[in-house]
Amino acid sequence: MAVQTFLFASLIIFSSIESNHGATEVSLFTNLENSLEVTAKPTRVGVVWEAGKDIVRITWMLKSSAKVNDDAAFKTVEVKLCYAPISQVDRPWRKTHNELSKDKSCPHLIVSKPYDKTTQSLNWTVDRETPTGTYFIRAYGTDVNGYEVAYGQSSDAEKTTNLFSVEGISGRHTSLDVASICFSVFSVDSLLVFLVKEKKKAKLQQRK
């Protein structure tokens, strides 16, 4: 009982120290302006994209509805591949978090380009290491210090439209399969060889 009290006391002390630290500026998603318009057009329509093969034309620009100086703050645009809600189900490591430094829903960076106040675009080949899943594309406008100030995405606010599926590579190789079978057979065979040899030896000894 005393041990538990001591443990809880030390826990409270340490966690209060921890919570005071880190009160610097934090980017929250809800604070961002939706001032960018992002479109994603695939070269092959209506099919599941293959990682490492399919090409998408991504375009981003300031929204026509945005005010004139909205884009004064951001210097760089980071375009990211984000998980759609369906790919986040039962996968807490892809959870969306309002605090952008903790957000895990957009882990794949497509490109990071300096913003030049014009419409920018990119022909992007879906990365070979992209996992199987359903995605949309989001662009963050970041300021001089690297903090996000604005965003835009190819899907709607609820992330239900304009989603696309990617089929990742399997990572399997015939050579790997063959090597695997060879070593497995070797393992079982060497065991059998030993068994047979020892049985013979024991029989010989018995006859002696």
Binding site: W93, T132, S170, R172, A179, S180, F183, E198
Partner: protein, 538 residues
């Protein structure tokens, strides 16, 4: 056993028991042994041995035949199997993307990875009793190596689960390892020896958290994509298993006097009946209490091996590499924690006998579980690491202490009891993973704390383990004339007919050697009574 010291009662009769010729495990050449002085058979061993030819000292740096060699082969085989079974855990962040796994899939695969061993550990107990520890170890290593290699074929959640299930079978080497050391080392040091063998083997669960990410990185450097690299990385544990299997078969020996099949064929070791061995293991209630206890010491440890790397990676936003290092520290603590538990058990036995062993077990396991509760509640990284280290020491020492008790539960069914207890460890791990880590109901942090609470509760049953000759946590040994003798307890495993055939002699010898479990007070008062003959000096 107090008569071991120089000049104490009967020490001049060192080694003489007057029963030498009859015992199944102690003779080398049948008829000629009648002429040999009982000192001579022991002289051919590099280490001092007792009347059963089990080693009396533990020299970890030696590879002497057959005792220390068996020790090293045993623990390294077990270590290798731990590496294979938990090889997937540090790579889960890559595997989950490759196979599009959900948390439920990963949790279920974790349960599967420890469930296979429930059955294989039971089977291994029987295999050791009937075929010897060498074959048991080799079967386990070489028949599960194909499962390790087959990670290259896995393409979805179902195949992933199936492969992890099959790899998990190799954890049966735990039983063969503990059995091997129990027949090679004498009762007084068995806690320490089993603790070292078990602990150093368990370290594999820690080493794999470092080894696999490292191998994975090296393979990626050669140009492979992540989704190929992780599959290829599994070849390393596979190779290790094959190499160890070959070493065990060529360098190992089942018993101090030779291999089991040779001794059986020459009539020196009688073949026991599986049904009898099984019945006496299952009938003994202590087996089942140990089953539950181990489920919440080793079981908790196995669960942590599966979840802790991912926990640190996800909760504290660390890299795969860093999370692996922290997770590895948990498993690596086994190097000293489990032997410490075994040693503490031996020291407690010297002072208080079996009652000391039981109390040591209860204290270590409960303290470990309390720190597990703390780990789940820690929200800062340094506190979490501290809690995890203290938790690992407590729980792993408890594992060592438990196997200071297990060898005394039965002599006839030693293998099967090791098997059942070992299976309990895996069963506990399966249950805790299923309850707390396979769904989104609890966060991993909550799961950890709840698991700790369950472990505290499930450690109470140790109070019910009672030996008539030695007592229990709260009860003194029986005062009854017959039941207070070790011979009565171990002799009770044989029927009258079997006794008349002399089949129980090995158990009687063991009973004499186990008098050390009476503790210091009882030993000082214990003057050997005429009917047991000269004390079995070891």
């Amino acid at each position: 056993m107090a008569s071991n010291e120089d000049g104490s009662i009967g020490s001049s009769l060192h080694g003489v028991t007057a029963r030498e010729q009859v015992f199944s495990f102690s003779v080398e050449d049948g008829p000629s042994s009648q002429a040999i002085r009982s000192d001579d058979p022991t002289a051919k061993f590099a280490i001092p041995v007792d009347s059963e030819h089990r080693a009396k000292v533990f020299k970890p740096l030696s590879f002497a035949k057959p005792h220390m060699r068996a020790f090293h082969l045993g623990w390294i085989s077990f270590f290798t199997c731990f590496i294979s079974t938990f090889a997937a855990a540090p790579l889960v962040p890559v595997i989950r993307d490759n196979l599009d796994l959900t948390k439920t899939d990963i949790g279920n695969a974790g349960v599967a990875s420890v469930s296979g061993a429930i059955f294989s550990r039971l089977a291994m107990g029987a295999v050791c009793d009937l075929l010897g520890a060498r074959y048991g170890t080799a079967f386990s290593l070489m028949l599960s190596a194909p499962a390790v290699f087959s990670m290259s074929f896995v393409s979805d959640a179902v195949s992933y689960l199936a492969v992890r299930f099959m790899i998990g079978f190799c954890l049966a080497t735990f039983v063969s390892c503990q059995y091997w050391t129990s027949v090679m080392f004498t009762g007084k040091i068995i806690g320490l020896v089993n603790g070292c063998a078990g602990g150093w083997g368990d370290m594999g669960g820690g080493v794999t958290q470092l080894l696999m990410p490292m191998v994975y990185h090296v393979i990626k450097l050669t140009g492979a994509t992540p989704f190929t690299a992780w599959r290829f990385a599994f070849f390393i544990p596979g190779f290790l298993q094959i190499i160890m299997g070959i070493l065990v078969l060529t360098l190992g020996q089942d018993l101090p006097d030779g291999n089991l099949s040779t001794l059986q064929k020459s009539g020196q070791v009688s073949k026991d009946k599986f049904s009898k061995v099984f019945w006496f293991a299952v009938k003994n209630y202590r087996t089942w209490i140990l089953f539950v206890l181990y489920g919440f010491s080793m079981g908790v440890e196995l669960t942590i091996n599966n979840v802790i790397s991912g926990y640190f990676y996800d909760r504290f936003h660390l890299t795969l590499h860093t999370a692996g290092i922290i997770a590895a520290s948990f498993g690596m603590a086994n190097f000293f924690a489990r032997p410490f538990g075994g040693y503490a058990s031996d020291v407690a036995a010297r002072l208080f006998g079996m009652r000391g062993r039981l109390w040591t077990l209860w204290i270590l396991q409960t303290v470990g579980a309390l720190f597990c509760i703390w780990l789940g509640r820690a929200s800062s990284l340094p506190i979490a690491i501290l809690a995890m280290m203290l938790f690992s020491i407590g729980t792993q020492a408890a594992c060592g202490a438990l196997f200071g008790v297990a060898p005394f539960v039965s002599r006839r069914s030693l293998g099967l009891i090791s098997g059942l207890t070992g299976a309990g460890g895996n069963f506990g791990s399966g249950v805790t993973q299923l309850l707390f880590f396979s769904s989104s109901r609890f966060s991993t942090a909550e799961g950890l704390s709840l698991m700790g609470v369950m472990a505290v509760v499930c450690t109470f049953p140790v109070a019910f383990i009672h030996f008539p000759q030695w007592g229990s946590m709260f009860l003194r040994p029986s005062q009854h004339e017959e039941r207070s003798k070790e011979e009565h307890y171990y002799g009770g495993e044989w029927t009258k007919e079997e006794k008349s055939l002399g089949l129980h002699e090995g158990s009687i010898k063991f009973a004499e050697n186990s008098r050390s479990e009476r503790g210091r007070k009882a030993m000082l008062a214990d003057i050997p009574s005429p009917e047991t003959g000269t004390p079995a000096h070891v």
